[in-house]
């Protein structure tokens, strides 16, 4: 294994570890610091960091957990991530967390905040309401007050209520990380065979649980090593992956897509960690910068209400910008928000004549035969007939 592969592998092992050993070790090494978990999709990580805590993405147990206790708490028609996340908690894997945050995303995530408070009465649990009336003049003010409230509450855990200076520094750090992650995504867009989708996502997911200072170093090194990697140019179709913004597909599924010659060149995977398309506009008031991040820079997502046409236009733009041949809707089973989006997106793609494919996944699935077949078909439908139609 060379250096690059070692870096990726280390990240892989950490993100696949449901006991969060590396995070626990970090906490040991950083006396006086806390760990605050968050459920998808988005929370302002910089606020948590500024309060002296490590933001830890608690995004389900993936295919490495056998859900048993939580099955009894969350009905079978609810998405797996809600269940496996609860299971992680009930198993005690999250006992190192000093707090857990939920944000307004969907009814499941919202109600889960209350379920969490009941089941873990000793943990600090908070719920962040993201304004949905973007036209209201009161919305920014409300959100800002809420962020300040949360900052103070986090300060209550760590003893460090974040002030403007800490917050600005934290935003710098996360801006740097987001810029690096954007560069990594660009590698996929330009030369998808250079970096596997699974490899890229492992590095993204690691950002959800690593000390940002350390992970930024790793990302920088990966980006340096990548151009030298020996790779073979492969034939395939280019797709935009859509619908996995919250529950994350198993890494094996991501590998399957590459094997089926479906190259994901842009995606909303782990949306909360890659929510801003461009650098944030900065001012001398970091609180306001965080507010603007949400109001101005957020990519189309269900966390925030967009007019339907605006959201579809953003998808079409992603297809255009990444020069994709089609769209791959990869939706978590029972994920209502994604299903609603799908109908509107489908209309727009039909109108634009862009091919798409819709599949559903579940965290715990371990057979990818059907997805492979569908992805292969999708690739075949474009590749097999390319020459025939070119000559026709």
């Amino acid at each position: 294994m060379n250096r690059l592969e070692r870096l990726i592998d280390e990240a892989r092992r950490e993100v696949e570890d449901n006991t969060f050993a590396a995070v626990r070790a970090w906490k040991e090494e950083e006396p006086g610091r806390a760990c605050v978990g968050f459920f998808p999709v988005y929370v302002p990580a910089e606020l948590i960091w500024a309060a002296g805590a490590l933001p830890v993405a608690v995004w389900g147990g993936g295919d490495r957990i056998e859900v048993e206790m939580a099955d009894a708490r969350v009905q079978s028609f609810i998405c797996s991530i809600s269940r496996s996340t609860l299971e992680l908690g009930l198993l005690g894997h999250l006992d190192f967390l000093d707090g857990m945050l939920f944000g307004s995303l969907c009814d499941v995530a919202r109600n889960l905040s209350g379920v969490w408070a009941r089941n873990f009465p000793d943990t600090f649990v908070d719920y962040l309401h993201y304004p949905q009336n973007l036209r209201s003049e009161a919305a920014r003010g409300y959100y800002r007050e809420d962020l300040e409230r949360l900052g103070a509450a986090l300060g209550g855990i760590t003893g460090r209520t974040p002030g403007a200076a800490e917050l600005a520094a934290a935003i710098d750090l996360y801006e740097e990380q987001r810029a690096l992650l954007r560069r990594l995504a660009a590698v996929r867009t330009e030369e998808p065979w250079r970096l596997g989708l699974e490899e890229q996502q492992v590095l993204v997911r690691a950002a959800g649980r690593r000390d940002p200072r350390r992970h930024n170093e790793v990302l920088r090194e990966v980006l340096e090593l990548l151009p030298e990697r020996e790779v073979r140019h492969k034939d395939g179709v280019r797709v935009v992956l859509e619908g996995s913004f919250c529950e994350q597909p198993a890494l094996e599924l991501l590998r399957t897509l590459d094997q089926a010659h479906c190259f994901v060149v842009a995606s909303d995977l782990a949306r909360g960690l890659c929510w801003f398309k461009e650098p944030l506009r900065r001012s001398d008031d970091p609180w306001s910068d965080l507010v603007e991040a949400y109001f101005v820079h957020a990519e189309g997502s269900v966390v925030r209400h967009f007019s339907p046409s605006e959201r579809t236009e953003r998808l079409l733009a992603r297809v255009r910008d990444s020069r994709a041949d089609g769209v791959f809707f990869c939706t978590a089973k029972f994920c209502e928000p994604a299903f609603y989006d799908f109908v509107l997106h489908k209309r727009a793609l039909d109108a634009a004549g862009i091919p798409y494919l819709a599949v559903e996944f579940e965290e715990k699935m371990s057979s990818f035969e059907s997805i492979r077949t569908q992805a292969e078909t999708f690739a075949e439908s474009i590749l097999f007939f390319a020459d025939e139609e070119a000559t026709a």
Binding site: E68, D71, A72, S366, S367
Partner: protein
């Protein structure tokens, strides 16, 4: 005086006849098939024959199971949930939690010392995780349902069965076989997968010692072992597990008979 309980299940119909002391004196079992009425009559005859009595000697009959309203000779009906609890506590007085896996559904029942239902949960709408699931696996392997448990117990290697759909699992099994996986390992995987589903159902009602396993699937030693392993506790099961519902019904019948609720006599008297 005799009391009878007839449990018309989705797959099999069972009958138990009790004498005045509450001892089981006769049992009847057959496939439910298309003619529910006939099935219930036949199991009753079978049980009476074993007991060496005539059907008219039975004072009171209670029907249970999904076909309980079709028991022609039934004086009354009680749901199988109540009956399983009653039967299980009768056979294993320490029972507080019951896992009942039948042909088409799985139930977790919580009971008190008197055999009264305190809480219950069941799966439905989908045959995943039920006796049918096992039956389908057995069929693909060309085995009888009574054979798969013992085979699964010989497994040496953990193998995960991912399909939950009873229909799809058939082809998954074929697939595993064609990859050269061993029969016992595949079957053990099937058993584990059902034990896992049962476990979450049990967690829903909360598990308290002792756990009694009832329903036809409890006759499968592989399943008993899988549940024990999964729940990390000892499980009560017996040859009569499949008759638990019928037994409970018969106990209710006897109680009613004792209470003097006698249909036939009432009818005669006007």
């Amino acid at each position: 005086m005799y009391g009878a309980g007839i449990d018309v299940g989705s797959t099999q119909t069972k009958c138990v006849v009790l004498d005045g002391n509450g001892e089981i004196v006769g049992r009847g079992l057959r496939m439910t098939g298309a003619d529910v009425v006939k099935a219930s009559e036949q199991v009753l005859e079978q049980a009476c024959a074993e007991a060496g009595i005539e059907t008219h000697e039975i004072v009171y009959t209670i029907g249970t199971g999904y076909g309980r309203f079709r028991v022609a000779t039934g004086d009354d009906q009680v749901t199988e949930i109540s009956c399983h609890a009653k039967g299980a506590v009768h056979l294993f007085p320490g029972t507080r939690t019951i896992l009942d896996i039948g042909g088409q559904d799985t139930k977790a029942i919580k009971t008190n010392a008197r055999g009264e239902v305190v809480d219950f949960c069941m799966n439905d709408k989908c045959a995943a995780g039920t006796g049918r699931f096992l039956a389908a696996a057995a069929e693909v392997m060309g085995l009888d349902v009574s054979e798969i448990g013992p085979v699964a117990l010989k497994s040496t290697e953990e193998l995960k069965i991912t399909n939950v759909c009873t229909v799809f699992v058939e082809s998954e099994i074929l697939n595993q076989l064609s990859r050269g996986r061993k029969r016992e390992d595949i079957l053990a995987g099937v058993h584990r997968s059902i034990a896992g589903r049962s476990a979450s159902l049990l967690r829903r009602v909360g598990v308290e010692e002792e756990l009694t396993f009832t329903g036809g699937v409890a006759r499968n030693p592989g399943m008993v072992a899988a549940v024990e392993r999964r729940m990390k506790m000892k499980v009560n099961a017996s040859e009569d597990s499949q008759f638990m519902g019928a037994l409970g019904a018969a106990l209710f019948a006897l109680e009613r008979a004792m209470a003097g609720v006698r249909r036939k006599e009432q009818e005669v008297q006007g």
